[in-house]
Symmetry: C2
Subunit: 215 residues, 2 copies
């Protein structure tokens, strides 16, 4: 059945606002698709269905699937950072210090790895490995995000801990180790919030941040 005179959308607001709305709508749907169905599942059809937009509308803003996914990567890093920053401010509002701060910082860091965006990023990363175009796009995005993330990390840990001699090492170890552990949770059913590694990380951080580094 060919329905060229289907119920027309009633655009409201200015044109630029509608454009922004459309892009956001679509990008959010893309991220959701990535999280729920993986990279292959984030097809243009799936995205348009989830976003509730027509094919024309999607392809108008993102002429190809590749462009859509690259844009989604950018969208991802922007939103993630904002969310983490917000949570950090809320969690550290009472300015804890010492061991309490270390524990909370680690729990917060680990929590970010449970968020859907992490999996969206993972899907994009693995796909980027065999897709040169996506790879270069993600590389740039990653550098941008990396710098910002380390900035947020400093806020999370607070100036005192961040001044510790071996703080950079600890930070790097924690980030990488958490990433490594998080991946395994892709097919583990155990809840990530009670992962035994948490205790391990806390011990490590406490030891490395308190003891004077020998070099």
């Amino acid at each position: 059945m060919t329905v060229y005179s289907a119920a027309p959308v009633r655009p409201s607001g200015s044109r630029s606002a509608r454009t922004a709305d459309s892009r956001l709508l679509i990008l959010d749907a893309t991220v959701t698709c990535l999280v729920e169905d993986g990279y292959a599942g984030a097809s243009t059809l799936a995205v348009q269905a989830r976003a509730g937009v027509s094919r024309g509308r999607l392809l108008h803003h993102f002429p190809s699937r590749a462009q859509l996914l690259v844009a989604a990567a950018g969208h991802l890093s922007s939103t993630v950072l904002a969310a983490v920053r917000e949570r950090a401010a809320a969690l550290m509002a009472d300015q804890p210090a010492g061991r309490e701060r270390v524990d909370r910082a680690i729990e917060l860091m680990w929590a970010t790895f449970q968020e859907p965006p992490f999996w969206a990023a993972m899907e994009l990363w693995t796909a980027a490995r065999t897709d040169p175009g996506l790879r270069t796009a993600l590389r740039a995005e990653e550098r941008r995000l990396r710098a910002a993330i380390y900035g947020v990390a400093d806020e999370i840990w607070g100036p005192e801990l961040a001044a510790a001699e071996r703080y950079p090492e600890v930070c790097e170890l924690l980030f990488t180790s958490m990433r490594g552990v998080a991946i395994v949770h892709a097919f583990e059913d155990r809840p990530a919030t009670t992962d035994p590694h948490l205790a391990l990380w806390k011990r490590l951080a406490e030891r490395m941040l308190s003891a004077p580094g020998a070099g």
Copy 2:
């Protein structure tokens, strides 16, 4: 053009041998496809082309793509373990000790993350996240492999280091951190063999294995 009387294959050897050959041929090709073109690229067509087998031959041994990939996962863990064990034996033939052994152990561990099978596993893992069937299959496979890997790790480190109080912690931290770092190399062009994290890991291991653990 329908050619039902094409050049027939000349099967040599017994039937069971040919079956084993076929399976190996196909599974190796599957792993190669996973490494080079990713999960989506490991289509049954791509695999059959790379393995140089007909569609019938492939579908006879692996009736569906899902079964093929699950089998590939099993094949993967078996071959990886054998390879690592062999390299470990070669590298530690002269029985180094102390700092030298720590350094070599870490370099060997890190080297295994550069091998193609690691990427094949990564592709399967990420795919498993959104594929229940593959997930349960991989979970079982992972448990099997995990136990074996830790056994090999003990060989790599040697009885003395493995007896250290905090050896299990070090091992766990190194494995997870390396995995986390390795992933980033998916879209980094820097050579992994000179990754700055190597020095970090070596320092960590040395410190944690030599110092008496306070608890």
